[in-house]
Amino acid sequence: MDILAQQLVNGLVLGSIYALVALGYTMVYGILELINFAHGEVTMIGAMVALATIGFLTGIAPGLPGPLLVGGGILVAVPACMLLGFAIEKIAYRPLRKAPRLAPLITAIGVSIVLQNLAMLIWGRQYISFPQILPDYRFVLIGAQVTGLQVFIVLLSALVMAGLWLLVEKTRLGRAMRATAQSREVASLMGVNVDRVISATFVIGSALAAIAGVMVSAYYGLAHYYMGFLLGLKAFSAAVLGGIGNIAGAMLGGLLLGLIEALGAGYIGDLTGGFLGSNYQDVFAFFVLIAVLVFRPSGLLGERVANRA
């Protein structure tokens, strides 16, 4: 029972992070029907910028409390990634908006490689450690060890996702986004500035990615120029699992994928009598992806297919 509770906690934290990143994929897909493969790299840049900021802050004002430093890191990383997201769309996708769908997919992969190498040049190839500056609260919840950071990660992602939900459902920009997702042409006829809406989508998705990136590196205690790749692929699987283009689906898919991974890696060895081991942990995400594509191609909550009038 204790073990099960612990695995659920592990999965919930992992799932919250996946969900945040998955939202970025799903928002862009919902509007442009484009898989933005550079999104994982935006997460990595977010983590790197936050770490550099924390290093800078401790340099000029030693003795600042940890949460303040991390807060400062997030405050710099989020605008930096928003700018990056804006630039990626402007440079790599906008010129190709009328091109065949394969072309922006290839530029997406290109941007991803460029960003990885850029990060490698700036921050080096080695793993960078995230300083242990956050207070270490630990407590036991129904037999599971929980840390303050884990609670913070889950709460912050819930808060951010709720904010996004409000933005999309209740604001003018949200309405414009939904209209653009349904039909770009009709939306622009109704006076929606489609270019601006698309830019806004990238900027918002990148902000979420930046937050996720900081949380990942704080949680695991390190950052690396390659960290965005696998995280991006898993989050993409989560988005497909929930139904790509569907915002609630990305949240559900992220959480489910985190739980599946934790429970799968934790129990597969015992369930199969050692025949399959925990080395299959990373495979679950992609196994789920294949299974969903076979049995429910539109995802659990359904794909948001643009309704072309």
Binding site: D2, I3, Q6, Q7, N10, G11, V13, L14, G124, R125, Q126, Y127, S129, P131, Q132, R138, Q145, T147, V216, Y220, G221, L222, H224, Y226, M227, L230, E261, A262, L263, G264, A265, G266, Y267, G269, D270, G274, G277, S278, N279, Q281, D282
Partner: protein
């Protein structure tokens, strides 16, 4: 201005002439290759090997080296393999073409193994100062030697240390499925079992992963008193953090992949109390360690890692040349298995495969944010 130009020209001409002069006496020069990564993230360790070899070469040249009645001089040809297997084979061929007697290197197992075939085909001895993978000397080549303990010896020492010194009874093992990590974990498991411990879990991760909470939770349910990790510091660091966070109250033990400063940086305060091994003796415990440190640091600055082994490797080679009375690779190769040298790092003899018979393994523990020697196993 004009005169400065003329001066420079004259100097260049002189240089060319001097170069020609050198070429003529090439018959009296014995070339030895040295290969290690001299660019990229492992540059500092690669340069360290090169410097260790260079120190030995210069010391030999300071005295007179006479082989078969001829006075000879050693020359070290250094190549950069960038720690890349592909580049390793290219520079290996380059050294063979340059007519080296033998090669000191390479630094990594992953580069030493593919390069070994090229040296073997050319009949040139290869002495690695730092490649620890069992596979390096297990390829069936007569030309491969190494001067430090391999991963089998290290895994055995780790297993015996875990059960003997740390009194572990229930052991959990994780490895990263790499040639190094899996090999070390297998050897550890064998030794720990033989010493009477029970292996309660054998889990796997990979050398890209950062999340180990699921496997650590599963391991926690089996209540081990020791966790062994076969892998490198980028995974070991977060693993140490996550196991403390999950309240997994077991000792943490690893191999030389963890025994470095980066591990302490990545694990932070959770590195405290972690054990890890490293092949060889700590420099101050080596028979010739103090002297070597003095000479080396006067010329090159602090010793990084394997410099004493590179130094010994050159001396082994020179001793074999002296016994053979020749610098012909075939004759030197025939003498190498008879090596019995009291080196800086300890006594060195080779077994039939070219491994050292006296390879020591030292165990360290993190205390006060630094690695401290616990004991050395011979």
């Amino acid at each position: 201005m004009q005169s400065a130009k003329t001066m420079a020209m004259a100097l260049m001409m002189l240089g060319v002439l001097a170069g020609c002069g050198k070429k003529e006496s090439a018959d009296n020069v014995i070339r030895i290759g040295s290969v290690s990564p001299l660019t990229g993230p492992q540059t500092h360790i690669g340069k360290d090997n090169q410097n260790g070899a260079q120190l030995a070469v210069d010391e030999v040249n300071a005295k007179v080296l006479e082989l078969g009645g001829r006075k000879l001089r050693l020359e070290l040809l250094s190549e950069d393999d960038q720690a890349e297997p592909k580049t390793a084979t290219t520079v290996a061929q380059k050294l063979v073409d340059a007519g080296v007697v033998a090669v000191i290197g390479h630094l990594n197992s992953g580069t030493s193994i593919p390069a070994a075939r090229i040296y073997s085909e050319a009949g040139i001895p290869q002495i690695s100062p730092s490649a620890t993978a069992v596979a390096y000397t297990a390829q069936g080549f007569r030309t491969t030697f190494r001067v430090m303990a391999n991963d089998a010896q290290q895994g055995k020492a780790l297993g015996q240390f875990a059960v003997g010194r740390l009194s572990a009874k229930k052991i959990a093992i994780i490895d990263d499925r790499s040639a190094y990590g899996q090999g070390l974990a297998d050897q550890f498991e064998k030794a720990a079992k033989a010493a009477g411990a029970e292996i309660v879990a054998r889990e796997y991760t990979n050398d890209r992963s950062t999340d180990f909470t699921a496997i650590l939770t599963s391991i926690k349910g089996k209540m081990p008193d020791l966790l062994f990790y076969g892998g490198m510091d980028p995974q070991g660091g977060p693993m140490a953090q996550q196991m403390r966070r999950l309240g997994l109250d077991a000792r943490f033990l690893g191999g030389d992949g963890l025994q470095n400063g980066n591990f302490i940086k990545l694990a932070g305060t959770d590195s405290e109390g972690v054990y890890a091994s490293s092949p060889g003796l700590p420099i101050d415990a080596m028979p010739g360690g103090a002297d070597f440190r003095k000479h080396f640091e006067a010329r090159f600055g602090p010793i990084q890692l394997y410099a004493p082994y590179a130094y010994d490797a050159v001396n082994i080679l020179v001793a074999a040349m002296r016994r053979a009375g020749s610098a012909e690779p075939a004759k030197v190769l025939a003498e190498l298995p008879k090596t019995d040298l009291q080196g800086v790092t300890g006594p060195i003899r080779f077994d039939a495969k070219g491994d050292t018979t006296g390879g020591a393994v030292t165990l360290y523990q993190v205390k006060g944010g630094a690695w401290q020697v616990v004991e050395t196993v011979k």
